[in-house]
């Protein structure tokens, strides 16, 4: 391997002034994507709708304005609370399936989880969040919830 330092040079030869690349549609992702389609068995707009949903869930950079930060943090905190709530609830359901929970405990657990769910719904309304927004895309691992 050469030990020479990085040599940064303009890529363009002087005789050939740099040109903008022929960019696909600047506004709409669908026409731009169409030249990359190898095969499609349906209406590509169906896929675009799903793609947009996916993009909407992608983590954006933190918005530095106070309102954006508050909303982002509240979304993150509520997502984590919802994750814990669902994990606890599924654990309770497993125990019930195994028959290791008494009738009294079932009633008590059910009341507790029911109230937690109601409270979460109230908090989502307070922070202006929809159910689908309370999730995190973990890349190859899938969605958190």
């Amino acid at each position: 391997m050469s030990a020479s330092p990085v040599s940064c040079h303009p890529a363009a030869a002087p005789a050939h002034p740099t040109q903008p690349l022929p960019a696909p549609s600047e506004e709409d992702g669908l026409p731009a994507l169409q030249h990359k389609v190898l095969h499609s068995t349906g209406d590509p707009t169906e896929f675009m709708a799903e793609l947009e949903r996916t993009c909407a869930a992608l983590p954006q950079r933190i918005n530095a304005d106070p309102e954006g930060v508050e909303r982002g943090l509240s979304k993150l905190v509520l997502t984590l609370i919802e994750l814990l709530r669902q994990l606890m609830e599924r654990q309770a359901l497993r125990r019930i399936e195994r028959g290791t929970v008494s009738d009294d405990e079932i009633e008590r657990l059910g009341e507790t989880f029911m109230r937690l769910e109601q409270r979460m719904e109230e908090l989502k309304v307070i922070f202006g969040l929809e159910g689908e927004e309370l999730n995190l895309n973990l890349g190859p691992l899938g969605n958190l919830l």
């Binding site: 990085v6 903008p20 690349l21 696909p24 349906g42 799903e50 008590r108 029911m114």
Partner: protein, 227 residues
Amino acid sequence: MLYLYAIINRPVTPLPPLRGLAEQAVQCGERGDIAAVYSQYHGAAPRIEVAQLWRHEAVVEALLDRHSVLPVRYGALLADEAALTMLLRERYDRFMAGLARVAGRVEVSVRVLWPATPVVSAPRPAADENGRAYLARRMAEEQAREARLREAHKRADALHAVLDHLAVAHVRQVLPHERVLLSAAYLIPREALDTFRVAIVALGQANPDVRLLCTGPWPAYHFVDGE
């Protein structure tokens, strides 16, 4: 600042004339047998916008014809040329290994939509629902969810098996969203592109209840070391 597009094997001749984000000329910085492709960048971090993403993509694709390319994820900035030097020095061996992995290969994306399941939603809880009824309702919903997940994995595995033997590597997600049965990327030899397309067409014919979208060839975004 420098905006980074890709790491490539060292160009024997100057890069073709390209303009990248903010119409800045694309340049390269070399070290040993590799080079980083970048352009000057000023201002706030680039936002995720369709036109910008395609501009990034166009630069990376313009390199594909003559180079092995490790594409860099959109939005990567370096402070200055000293940072670029350090990047190439510290990760030289990993970049070389990565370039060897993608040499002569391209990425193909496959997305499969399946019919939306009519959600057998239990009726909304009554105002006077007690704890036991709540858990019974949740149990039914959970069992339906798990059955759907099992069915999704069974279908996705069958589709994936047909494509996987044509690829040298893959990444995939089963049921990332309710309507998306499979979202996968395959790293295939460039010369296998037509064979892959034929396999996709056959899959579509054999599975008329799903919708297939196969796109490519792409730079190997999913097969680059995450760092």
